[in-house]
Amino acid sequence: MAELRTRIAGLEMENPTMLASGILGQTGESLFRIVREGGAGAVVTKSIGLEPREGHGSPCLLELDNGILNAMGLPNPGIDSFGEEMAVALKAGAPVIGSIFSDSPSNFAALARKMEGYGAAAVELNLSCPHAEKFGLDTGSDPAKVAEIVSAVKSAVKMPVFAKLSPMVPDITAIALAAEDAGCDAIVAINTMRAMKIDIDIGKPVLRNKVGGLSGRAIKPVGVRAVYEIAGRVKVPVIGAGGVYTGRDAVEYLMAGASAVQIGSAVRERGIGAFGIVSAEIAEFMKENKYKSLNEIIGLARGK
């Protein structure tokens, strides 16, 4: 099997697949299992805020023909009770990346400090939730605000800081560059896209929150484009997300310039084993095409 071990912003991973934030990442035991049974190279926690939040009402998730629509609304137990989950998750041995969200640079910094204290390998700043007021796009679409948050977090912690971006902006590279200039260590792209489903037999939006975020197959072409554009401009590694279901999807992101991929929606279809399966498929593709290392693939389509 081709060598899949990789290192991103200092994090050692057995393979380039990570659990995306918000998928089963709320408890220590589920994170543990996604590493040990699922085969993930790293896991990102559910986005955690300062206070407990119940999130939006139900229905908050809907399967569409070619994607998943969710409006979870950032439910989370609050940072203070998350330490015990982290402790369990860390036992799995893979890097645990703490995802956090907030509405101000100082609160982001406070959350990051706690995550670092809990033993997170890195922190991922959710600057891109498309359906939670005040906690997402308002901030994440403004390069100055993004820079401010990244700076605040960088000066609060020693661990690597990842910025997770939304595709709902006219120029995602401007945001990525602002994050990089402010010191961020990796860019994650993309979060879900603001979307909705109306059930015409009922005549109403299905989601209780009406509007949600679209993930899965539908957004892969947008995610690949975002990674391609960002990787052409920043020096820090880029982590791809959006519609990775198979090894071939992952390779597409890698060729676009991603150093690793996150997997979320695919867990519905492929189970928590998705990470191991996708990794095996990447290795198979590499073998068939005689690639020896991930580095030969990463950025290949950029003509590097």
């Binding site: 918000g22 998928i23 089963l24 990442g25 709320q26 408890t27 035991e29 589920s30 543990f32 299992r33 559910k46 407990p52 939040r53 119940e54 999130g55 009402g57 139900s58 229905p59 908050c60 998730l61 809907l62 399967e63 998943i68 969710n70 979870m72 439910p75 989370n76 137990p77 609050g78 009770s81 059930d199 037999d201 009922i202 109403k204 299905v206 209780r208 979320g264 929606s265 867990v267 519905r268 189970g271 928590i272």
Partner: protein, 256 residues
């Protein structure tokens, strides 16, 4: 999601109703559905009737269940499902133990076990006689039904777990299937372990997505909606949370 039309709403007990709707979901015993009541809520419900007209059997405990109780034939609701993994019935002599509305989760299992020629005894529990669910339905199916009530108004005066122990003492079943309050299930699991009887319990945890993505139904290492809701005694033994801790909608741990 399928939008289905309600065909009938039937009283089962004074606070439990069955809602039937046009949906040939081919559900396996123990599976559930996420039921969307437009503009109200979406909630997990065991599928308690199958066939051309499937059904759910609902205890009124709050806004969503109240809205379900007030449906009229012709109304439309959304059904995502069948979801999860159901019971897998092995052996010849089955003991089905249901507490309150949890009995709904056992209905298709009892039905199919009897159809397959198995001997089925049921131990049904409720607060009071009028709240016993599916006593007649299970008896009509051919099950040997015994009941327990907290107030002693009918059958065994006390917990349904005690009734179950009595039935086990009388004759050891090959398998126990159960659904009800988690502490009842925890007690029953111990009983089963003592008597070395296989057990499968259907758990009810706070669910949001129902398809193994959001993580809100996590119990120990298991995702109840996708790995369960039916778990074997062996799996339950692994879950430190089982019978002790549950999680609220924000994911915080709370006592069961």
């Amino acid at each position: 999601m399928d939008i289905v039309t309600v065909t009938g709403v039937f009283n089962e007990t004074k606070n439990i109703k069955t809602i039937r709707f046009k949906w040939a979901g081919r559900s396996k015993p123990g599976q559930f559905a996420m039921v969307w009541i437009p503009e109200v809520d979406e909630v997990p419900m065991s599928i308690s009737f199958s066939g051309e007209e499937s059904g759910i059997t609902v205890l009124d405990v709050g806004e969503a269940t109240w809205a379900l109780h007030n449906l009229k034939p012709g109304d439309r609701i959304g059904i995502k499902g069948p979801l999860g993994k159901g019971f897998s019935i092995t052996g010849k002599d089955i003991l089905a133990v249901g507490g309150g509305s949890g009995t709904a989760a056992l209905a298709l299992a009892v039905e199919s076990a009897i159809a397959k020629g198995k001997k089925v005894r049921c131990a049904l529990g409720a607060k009071t006689s009028g709240e016993l669910l599916f006593k007649k339905r299970f008896t009509d199916m051919g099950a040997d039904v015994r009941v327990a009530t907290d107030d002693g108004s009918e059958g065994h005066h006390g917990f349904v777990t005690q009734l179950a122990e009595k039935l086990i003492a009388k004759k050891k079943p090959d398998l126990i299937i159960a659904c009800g309050p988690e502490r009842m299930l925890a007690a029953l699991t111990e009983v089963a372990a003592q008597h070395k009887i296989g057990i499968q319990c259907s758990l009810e945890r706070y669910m949001k997505c129902g398809i193994g993505l959001c993580g809100s139904c996590q119990c120990g290492r298991y995702t109840v909606c996708a790995d369960g809701p039916v778990f074997t005694g062996g799996q339950l033994a692994e879950m430190a949370d089982f019978g002790k801790w549950k999680r609220d909608p924000s994911g915080r741990k709370m006592h069961c």
